[in-house]
Symmetry: C2
Subunit: 201 residues, 2 copies
DNA sequence: GGTAGAGCGTAACAAATGTTACAACAACGA
DNA sequence: TCGTTGTTGTAACATTTGTTACGCTCTACC
């Protein structure tokens, strides 16, 4: 399908290689909005390509706690970092925000594609590396803690906090806690507030 | 050098390929115990292979806070997840615990090696994937929080806490805090203590 | 006009963790 | 033996965040 070519990873792939890839065992699957795409703990045996729609990856904690880890938007790979891991179960729960369509591509076929197409190899390595960097950043945010620091990071990355509740979920805190900290930072002049929400400086 | 063959990643590599690789620009470097190997923010332009000694990767926080992220022990790759990233600076500080020796291997040469040697490609993908899983786990520990849960995880991974101070640093909390929690868990029968330290069950 | 719901701010209290300080204990060398 | 050093337990207090609850302001809709 030409649908896959929207993915930067295989945009530079030759048509023959792509045709060969799709001749290997693979399938396309639909998910309705709100449906679970991946449960935490599910094995990850094929390359998953989100070609349509938006989804969310959440990490679930023991006591109902949950943290929004990543927002997925087509075209994008799903859980690429776990495809070739020794323990290849996904640690997050992925749910469809809008209606979604996803391709499952045979892992061994994709592995062979990487060997024949340097651009795919380079692209996949870059995706994996960026994922690693992303996760390091997230971990640093949580480990080095201090909600205020995380708020600053969030504002630098997102530009503004438009809905406090959503930001609170992403930051892994409760809404009243974030609301309180934002009020304090507003008093101290660390953030400003206009009709669009909270902003930096 | 035969030294590199200790690394599982290239153990199955043919001798010609390996000779070719070492003919490309690369160098071996020594680090004395206690010395800084990588500063946080340093760019990562070559594949780094720790072939001798032990090192530690720490994440530094704003207010002097620091978390021990990973213990590196030869033979092992250093910061493999950042070699092919768009923003390829390392987010951690790496210091030599014992005297260390490290190879720097040209990135493009290694990229070519992966294309000619499937075992190297597979191995590197696995290393990267495992790193991703490791980071996800770490992040989950911190995000989903509750020090007690992290202590249980730690005991499951390490077997025992022999020195409270070291464990506290790895868990990202202060020593008195960990000491207090351990005491409480001891009272509740969640852990036991013998002359070797704290244990599970 | 009225009503319901969503999103937000805020207050009072609880729980978790940090901070600082001190004492006990073991290991070790002078 | 004595003092030193490192490790640990513990206490008192401060700070941060969670919990729960309430009121306010919008907007959509009847």
């Amino acid at each position: 399908m030409e649908e896959l070519k929207k993915l930067k990873l295989i945009a530079n792939c030759s048509d023959e290689s792509l045709e060969w890839l799709l001749a290997q065992p693979c399938r396309r699957q639909q998910y309705a909005a709100g449906k679970l795409i991946l449960r935490a703990g599910d094995p990850c045996r094929s390359l998953m390509v989100l070609v349509e729609g938006e989804a969310e990856a959440k990490m679930m904690g023991e006591e109902g706690r949950e943290v929004l880890v990543d927002k997925l938007k087509a075209p994008m790979l799903l859980a690429p970092a776990f495809l070739f891991a020794a323990e290849n179960s996904v640690p997050v729960e992925v749910t469809a925000v809008t209606d979604c369509a996803m391709w499952h591509i045979n892992r061994e076929a994709f592995f062979r594609l990487m060997q024949t197409e340097p651009s795919v190899l380079k692209g996949f390595l870059e995706v994996l590396s960026n994922k690693g960097r992303f996760l390091s950043g997230k971990m640093r945010s949580f480990a080095v803690k201090g909600l205020r620091n995380r708020v600053v990071e969030y504002l630098e990355a997102h530009g503004a906090i438009t809905t406090v509740a959503a930001a609170a979920q992403e930051l892994g805190v409760t809404r009243p806690s974030l609301s309180r900290v934002l009020s304090e930072m507003l008093d101290e002049g660390l953030v400003v507030k206009d009709e669009k929400g909270y902003r930096k400086v």
